[in-house]
Amino acid sequence: MKELAGIYIIWLRDVKKFFRDKPRIIGSLAQPAIFLFILGSGLAISFQVFGGGGGKDYLEFMFPGIIGMTILFTSFFSAMSIIWDREFGFLKEVLVSPLSRASIVIGKNLGGSTVAMIQGSIILIFSPILKIPITVVSILKLLPIMFLTAMVISSLGITLAARLKTMQGFQVLTNFILMPMFFLSGALFPLVDLPKWMAYLVIINPLSYGIDAMRTVMLGNSYPQLHPLYINVIVLSAIIIVITFIGILLFNKQE
């Protein structure tokens, strides 16, 4: 009960700060919009020029991928706010309280994931313009998958943040973890007939399971699926549990 109150208030802080920061909400729509309208439309044309049509289908294919991209960046940056909290001292206030490290990690994860899920849902407003078919049912299925995907990325970010003392390592992480994760996630191109080394990287890329699942619930099986939906859900859940556990251990270790 007392741990729940702590989880709740850590979650609430992130959610409150998200809604308070209107410019950030609007600003973070810019990147997906650029990907969808400029890159997406451009690539759709090039597919028509270079081969076998299917231009409009590409936008449809890409759409869940861009939701995944939004979730990836939002939840990772949310987790990295721990480093800001450390640098600006707020983290100490949390760490000296009687709340367990496990609850701190879980509250932070739920907060970042909620924000990422909301941010991901906002992308859906582009779907009528791009004529992407969505239904109430598919949205209801999509929400938990978005949340699960966000939790995977959050747990990863939080676990990394447990050991990062300053923002300096952040740029490195973005370039060496975030970007490869994004490009090897199936967001922009189908993950079929890949060279061996790339196929291995896809297997260990948690985001690839999330985007595969999102594409399945939004578009059915009209595009190449990596795994059945239930496999995706199981793998995502398993990764969340393992990485969260490591994160808690790292936070429990004292200097």
Binding site: G6, Y8, K17, F88, G89, F90, K92, L95, V96, P98
Partner: protein
């Protein structure tokens, strides 16, 4: 059990090759204001962080309210309030939201939260700003809010790490008043650290700490009696001649300060000065007498002044950060 609420025995803490805390032992009595006085880098914050379960220790034995810092972390965290040296508020939240956050972390019963928050805001005079974002607060207001926050869960002990660092003298005095008022009204134990001499005067007992070691430990009065002398500072037309006179004729040990002042100690300055002026062979341009302070105690023990202590790069950076976020 004795009425010692904190007991520290032979505590050692090393960071790589620096010994930050070097085998110190002391105890804090229930209900007192206890002070750690020492220059930057003396090991004050490190000691507090160990007592508050935020840092591990290399060796030694630390108990608080009878709980061991290594074994009963959660019990200790439940009975302390800590105001950190560096700012630790979320400045994108309002004052009330910061307090509410703290209340839930510390498991204050839901029904009581609002009442407690209003109560502590009242104590530090921030009631009319409770719904403003902390970003809009001045440094002093933030500090008061941090002190208020440390009180919400009714801690047995309140730790204040450099409670007035970087604040203007007026705000500083106001915060001292709050601390004294707190101790009187709520009867909690207060453990503060400081490198301001004046600040340590509000303590019941102080430990003077330097380079990780406690070099003196007593009430402020007793410590000043240790020096026991009044200090006379003179400048004159011919300092060398005056020095010679004081040393040879009056048999006193004299220091010449870099700002051309002559400094020496006497038992009783009010009796000494009239005679001295009458008999002095050199023309005196100014004369100044004062009671000894804790700074003199420190000077006496270490040969250095607390004030002139170097600041290391990290502290300097922290101080700058503090000003940046506080202004």
């Amino acid at each position: 059990m004795s009425n010692n609420i904190i007991e520290v025995k032979n505590l050692v803490k090393k960071f790589n090759n620096i010994t930050a805390v070097d085998n110190i032992s002391f105890s804090v009595k229930e209900g007192e204001i206890f002070g750690f006085l020492g220059p930057n880098g003396a090991g004050k914050t490190t000691t507090i962080n160990i007592i508050c379960t935020l840092l591990s220790l290399n060796s030694g034995d630390v108990t608080l309210c009878g709980y061991n810092v290594l074994k009963d972390k959660n019990k200790i965290r439940n009975c302390i309030g800590l105001v950190f040296q560096d700012p630790s508020l979320d400045d994108r939240l309002t004052a009330m939201e910061n307090l509410n956050f703290h209340s839930l972390l510390y498991n204050v019963p839901r029904k009581l939260i609002k009442k407690r928050c209003e109560e502590v805001l009242e104590t530090v005079d921030l009631t009319n700003r409770k719904n403003d974002l902390v970003r809009t607060f001045s440094g002093g207001m933030r500090r008061r809010l941090e002190i208020a926050r440390g009180l919400i869960h009714y801690p047995k002990i309140l730790f204040l790490d450099e409670p007035t660092i970087g604040l203007d003298p007026q705000t500083r005095h106001k915060i001292w008043d709050y601390i004294i008022k707190l101790k009187k009204n709520q009867n909690i134990t207060i453990f503060l650290t400081t490198h301001y001499i004046e600040e340590s005067e509000i303590c019941n007992r102080i430990a003077i700490i330097d380079r990780g070691k406690i070099i003196a430990f007593d009430t402020p009065e007793a410590l000043k009696d240790m020096v026991g002398m009044d200090i006379i500072i003179i400048s004159s037309k011919d300092n060398n001649k005056l020095k010679f006179y004081i040393e040879k004729k009056l048999n006193k040990k004299v220091e010449i300060h870099e700002d051309d002042n002559i400094k020496f100690e006497v038992k009783n300055s009010s009796n000494f000065i009239p005679d001295f002026i009458k008999n002095c062979p050199v023309k005196i341009t100014s004369i100044n007498a004062r009671k000894s302070t804790l700074n003199d105690v420190f000077l006496n023990l270490t040969g250095r002044e607390i004030r002139e202590e170097y600041m290391n790069a990290k502290d300097n950076f922290k101080l700058k950060m503090r000003f940046r976020t506080r202004m």
